[in-house]
């Protein structure tokens, strides 16, 4: 106090922060840096990303799904459906913001943990950094596919000196993603990379693993049409032996199977957006996709009369594309599997309908069959890469000219087909095989945010939607940059199509 006269005033004027944390000194303990790693995952549970808005952006703009008749979000979805977007409508400022805050969390983990010497622990710090690299790659991969060219921020914004930043080219962004993923795969001398399996098992279920980094890298290469690398990294995942398909398609979506091993120690989920029901904001898609005013099981929980929204329904063409006996159809759409529907002749206003001729086909992929809490909080995770995706990517890469590894391309695709209880493929031409893989992906990953990307990367998007969007032009597959970013970031320009 009064001593300020005699000792250092500067010391007296230091801001003391007993009640709050600052970046200064935080990243020095194992427990603290673990929380920094956790922060890299927050995007995955955000309503503006995987849990809600990503579904809007990615499932409304392709040709298998249409906006439902009673959609609560009808006008919002229609702007996406018709590609009538602008920098203030349909630019998904919240999504942009959440992805970049996730990137900021990753950058902070990388910059601060790299800079803090942690003597006691040789494992955690590199692993925190590797997770941050891996997730940063995932987020940029989503951004570059949704918005196209975006600013590539690879340093934490620690002061006001570098707030404005121009877009990087798509090539630059991909090369950064590839470099980040190679880092996460342990291909640098600096960092051993992500573990195949975390030592303390279950507690870390849901964290990025080596298998995920490899599968994601493979997918990036697939998007870059680098078939050899796509084949190489999918094969690494296959060869690891840590993953296997569940025997039945529906098993994957049982909540009891979430994060569980099957015949392989890591099960089928290579990486998922982890959700739970603690915060009352689980997987939204159940609600969004089910019909309006539907009473959904399990009614025994006293949750009778909860409301669906009917935001999206599937087109007949999608429904009719399944081969006879394909179990996936039954577990993708509502009518076939809705238990009360059969027993009671319809509860909550449904009657058993023939979806083939029905007006609307409601999607019921994120299932509630074994959920024990009210369905408003669906506990299902949202898959980002499943093992069937790895197999199909591998098959596609081989067909396009990639070098074969553990399996043949037929073996890979037929693993997926046989799990769906349909007959194996043999002896197709290269083109026919390509079409077969595309079709398999379309049917396997309904409402798993894959369809739009698949059309986009294979150049089939324009053909798929040109009837619906006659004014569609090149570049429209990228949604507009939000106006607020354009207003504030003086180095930013709008995407050319808008």
């Amino acid at each position: 106090m009064g001593i300020c006269l005699f000792v250092s005033c500067e010391k007296f004027l230091e801001e003391k922060t007993p009640g709050i944390e600052t970046t200064n000194g935080y990243y020095t303990t194992v427990a603290n840096i673990q929380t920094a790693a956790n922060a890299c995952y927050t995007v995955l549970r955000s309503g503006q990303a995987y849990r809600n808005d990503l579904g809007k952006i990615l499932e409304t703009r392709h040709n298998d799904i249409v906006v439902g008749p009673n959609a609560a979000l009808r006008s919002e979805l229609l702007t996406l459906y018709t590609y009538s977007l602008s920098s203030t409508t349909g630019s998904y400022e919240g999504t942009w913001s959440v992805y970049y805050s996730g990137i900021s969390h990753c950058n902070a983990a990388i910059d601060f943990v790299k800079n803090e010497p942690i003597g006691v622990d040789k494992t955690t710090a590199p692993r925190v950094i590797a997770q941050a690299y891996c997730l940063r790659a995932l987020y940029y991969f989503d951004l570059v596919r949704i918005y196209g060219e975006v600013p590539l921020r690879l340093k934490f914004t620690s002061d006001a000196s570098s707030l404005d930043m121009p877009k990087s080219t798509i090539d630059q962004i991909y090369s950064s993603i590839i470099s980040d993923l190679k880092y996460a795969c342990g291909e640098t001398s600096e960092n051993p990379g992500l573990p195949v399996v975390y030592e303390n098992g279950g507690d870390n279920n849901g964290r990025a693993t080596l298998g995920f980094a490899q599968a994601l890298l493979a997918k990036v290469y697939l998007f870059r049409k680098d078939w050899n690398n796509a084949a190489k990294y999918t094969d690494m995942v296959i060869k690891s032996g840590k993953y296997a398909l569940w025997p039945n398609f529906k098993d994957y979506f049982y909540i009891k199977n979430k994060n569980q091993p099957n015949s392989a120690p890591l099960g089928e989920a290579v990486f998922e957006a982890q959700l739970n029901n603690d915060l009352g904001d689980g997987n939204y898609y159940t609600t969004w996709c089910l019909p309006v005013r539907s009473a959904i099981p399990p009614t025994s929980l006293g949750w009778d009369g909860a409301w669906g929204q009917g935001d999206w329904v599937a087109k007949a063409d999608l429904y009719r594309s399944y081969e006879k006996g394909d179990e996936r159809r039954m577990y993708t759409f509502l009518s076939d599997t809705f238990p009360d529907n059969n027993a009671n002749g319809g509860k909550g206003g449904y009657s058993k309908v023939d979806l083939d001729t029905a007006t609307y086909r409601y999607i019921y992929k994120y299932r509630l069959d074994d959920q024990t809490t009210p369905w408003g909080n669906n506990m299902s995770n949202i898959p980002i890469i499943r093992y069937s995706d790895v197999l199909l990517m591998y098959a596609e890469a081989l067909n396009e000219g990639g070098t074969q590894g553990t399996l043949t391309q037929y073996a890979a695709i037929n693993l997926v087909r046989s799990r769906a209880k349909i007959s194996p493929l043999i002896g197709l031409t290269k083109d026919a095989f390509r079409e077969a893989v595309y079709k398999e992906r379309r049917l396997e990953f309904v409402f798993e945010f894959q369809r739009f990307y698949d059309l986009q990367r294979t150049g089939r998007l324009i053909a798929a939607i040109q009837d619906r969007v006659p004014g569609f032009k090149d570049g429209m597959e990228y949604i507009p940059i939000p106006q607020s970013e354009l207003d504030v970031n003086k180095k930013m320009v709008q995407n050319p199509a808008w």
């Binding site: 300020c4 003391k16 942009w96 805050s101 921020r153 870390n204 982890q274 603690d278 915060l279 930013m492």
Partner: protein, 1135 residues
Amino acid sequence: MLPDKSDAQKIQKTKSFKSMKNLIHLYRRKPATQKILLTMRLTLFLLIASVFSAFSNTYAQKTKLDINVQNRTVKDVLNEIETQSEFFFMYNNKQVDVERIVNLDAKSTTVDIVLEKLFAGTDVNFKVVNRQILLFPNNLINLAEQQGKKVSGKVTDQNGVAIPGAAVVVRGTTTGASSDNDGSFSLVIPTDAKALIISFVGMKSQEIVISGKTIFNIVLEEETIGLEEVVAIGYGTVKKSDITGSVSSVKANKLKDASSNSFDQMLQGQAAGVVVSQSSSAPGGGVSVRIRGSNSINGGNEPLYVIDGMPIYKNDGDAFGGHDYGSSGAPNVLSTIDPNDIESMEILKDASATAIYGARGANGVVLITTKKGQIGKSNIIFNASYALAEVAKKYNMLNASQFAQLNNDARIAGGDKPLYDLNNLGNIDTDWQNEIFRVAPTQNYQLQMTGGDEKIRYMISGGYFNQQGIIKSSGMDRYSLRVNFERSVSKRIKIGENLTISRSNNNDGNATTVLYNALKRVPTSPVYIDGTTELASENDNIHTDLAGTQNPFYKMNLCTNAQTTNKLLGNIFAEITLLDGLMFKTDFGATIQDIKGVYFEPADLSARASGAGIINNNYTINTVIQNTLNYNKSFSKHNIAVVLGQTAEKYEYESNHVRGEGMSNITTVYNNMAGNYMTSNIIQSNIGGFQMASFLGRVTYGFDSKYLLTSSVRKDGSSRFGKNNKWGYFPSAAAAWVVSKEDFMQNQTIISNLKFRLSYGATGNQEIGNYNSMATLGSWVAIINNQNVKATYPDRIANADLKWETTKQFNGGIDLGIIKGRISLIADYFNKTTSDLLYYKPVPLSTGFGSILSNIGSVENKGFELGLNSVNLDGNFKWNTGITFTLQKNKILSLGGQPAAKNEPTILQEGEELGTWYGYLTDGVITDANHPAQPDAKIGDVKFKDIAGPLDANNKPTGPDGKIDGNDRTVLGHQNPNVLYSLTNDFTYKGFELNVFFNGVSGNTIYNQTRQSLEDLSGKSGAVADVLNRYNGTNPGTSIPRALQNGGTNHYGSGTNTKFLENGSYLKLRNLTLAYNLPAVLSKKIFVSNFRVYFSGQNLWTSTKYSGYDPDVSAYDNFAYPSTKIYTVGINLTF
């Protein structure tokens, strides 16, 4: 051996006495010292004697004398004592017979015993002071009487209270006396004496012409006005005549009689340029004070309060954590101080006055000085008052049958069947306002003891204040104790302390929720089911479709929402006079406050099925140390005063919040949280604070009291500032020219005072919040393996440049006094520019952040202030008038390149004021079936004005586009008044006093959200009677839309619109007091020296167009606690 005495005798003879008849001659004789004759007035001597008596007796007690004389004169004995010791005697040989022959035998005896023996049986008295011994006759006056003319009289104050210890001196001499305990005095004056001068500390001196009179009754006036008055400025005081800046001073006697609980309320209308508005009229409710306008968007606009030199950090936000149930305004921290303890308040307005407070001076400074004891005046004062408050105005609401009609109309319009059978309504017609309001008493008691002598001054006061709210559940009480004490330890050292301890219990009583529910509750709903004690809910068969209101008696009778505040405010100080004119002062102070807030609501189906309880604990401690050096020196015509100082301050807060839901037990409520099972709970804690270190200096220089210069600088460091801007400098300079002191002004008698003042300087606002410059971490949860795990990440971009907001202010003023100060006028023009405004500047979202707290933009406040005081009549009937008048204008000069921030109901836009309303313009109701701009609306719905379309390709505004949407929003009006005025008239006649105080504001608008909510045409909730004039097809001129219950779209503008923006101008009879002072002759009989009774009325009359409860309310009136009329009777007794 006896010394030779001739020299001394010679001196005595040479000095003969004419006008010094009642003075004693001081005769001193010591070997090797010059013989001196001193003259000294007896009273003065005795005064000094008493001052030093604490030190004087050691020598006298230690020194032992051996005296053995036979048949010697007294004078010989005195000489013998002087020889044996260092004592020397002072006496007048005309009064003390020193030639008397005595015998005396005393061995090893102290001097007082020797003297007692020596003068035994005579009328000679003695007093030993240090080494001096004074001899004087007991009947000094009688003796003096024979030598001049005797005059006598009595000194009283304006209220007839005797003033003991007043000095009565013959002009041009040192002859005088002091008044005794009854205020009476008598003295013998020389026959040629012309006039008496009567003076007393704190009172204006008076000169009375003698002209043959012998009896004088002198009434001294308190030195409240006048240029010799001393006013507090930061870190010192200054004579009012020497002020160079703009300072308004409000003395205690201007503040008495108001039954306000808080002194900031009392500033209302007292000083030009100060806007006081009542953010809540609830007991203990908050007050907002703005000095010369608002400077800041995000940094706060409250002035700095300094109590007895100690800055008080008033941040209700930190001090009170708040909770999200019910209403609970933070209690006004300043209401914990008893206003009766305040002696004066000084409001520092311009930069010259405030820059000494540096980074906290930008919003102005209010200096509060509490009462101190006075020398020679011991008083016991008892004040008591009892007041009754009633709601000043009520909303005129629909009665039961009117409401039933509305409900039916609204249902029919929505395609439903009517609910009410209008011919068979039953007898329930609840006037909910009557149910919740009451006539509420306020009691206020205070006992104050003050007194002092040359060494010790004290003021001890204890008070109890109890105010019940007009909403039945609300109220507050306060116990307070203040002890102010000063002691002169030695000639050079004074120590002292000021201390207040108070405890306030503030019962919010959920008043705002109660009020909301009462006004929104339908009149057809009863309070109790079948008149029993069971509260009626709305879930009966008639009221099922109503908007969700709660029976207000649920919150009022069954729920708790209260706070207890313990506050300690105090400082201790020492003043050391190092050299003549150079004083060092060290001052250590602390404000310690703890607030406990509790909330409880029992399980209730219509509210919270499971019950809930909250405990909030907030502790704050603010410690300050200040060291200052003051140097004052006058040489010939030069006057110089220098202050140098260093201060350091630390503010810490801590809060804990515990909240549980699902409480089943209504007996232990929140007192046993753990034992009262909860379905969910929230536990929070927080801690933080800031530090400041400062250096300050001020030089004032005056030449001949004509030319005055002041310059000050403060260097402030705050922990809140960013690393690159840890220290700010705040300089100021001012000059004044006292024209009336110039020679050329001396030949006229009209202008008694004329002074021009100019000042310029910079001040700061450090309310940028704690930790805002740092890269703080936030946390959320991520989900791993179905579990929530803590995710921590930086949530703010560090801004090492973050700093205070800077206000630069120019002030020019004139002080004018006419006819010996009968009329005095102070006028000021000011122009302030605040730059580096604290602003959340948006950053690209791609950084991962939304904004960075930056210093950008600027705001201007300029204005004109006038204060006028006039003594209209002076004599038996006195009439004084005081006027204040303020013109002010606020403007946002720049937002630093940021776009206008449209946050309905307000907008921040360059060129507009801070506090500008933004929304839609309304234009009556739609009467034409063709109204394409509002396609979903129907006839009878509110019509909005189409004024603009979207910006064109060049970002230029466009005209009407045939569509009502966000583009049609515009600036609607301003929150802050631009004209403020007040008028005070004081009349006194004999013992009667009458004070009439008006104040007014104009140019402001209030958004009446309350009325917007009550002009409800759905028929689902209580509505104001205005809706009787709703559109019904036959009244196209009405502004009230049609009744409609369900199914309407665009039916009613819920957004901000002009319909509910109202003129907030008012003129109020703020206070009227009639008092009577019992004549002293009568009051004496009951042993009271002053007996005063008064009646006062507050807020008796208001002229306004505002339709809400009261225009003296926050600009956004959202069910604000209604204002009251208060009638007070009180007594002031001085013993």
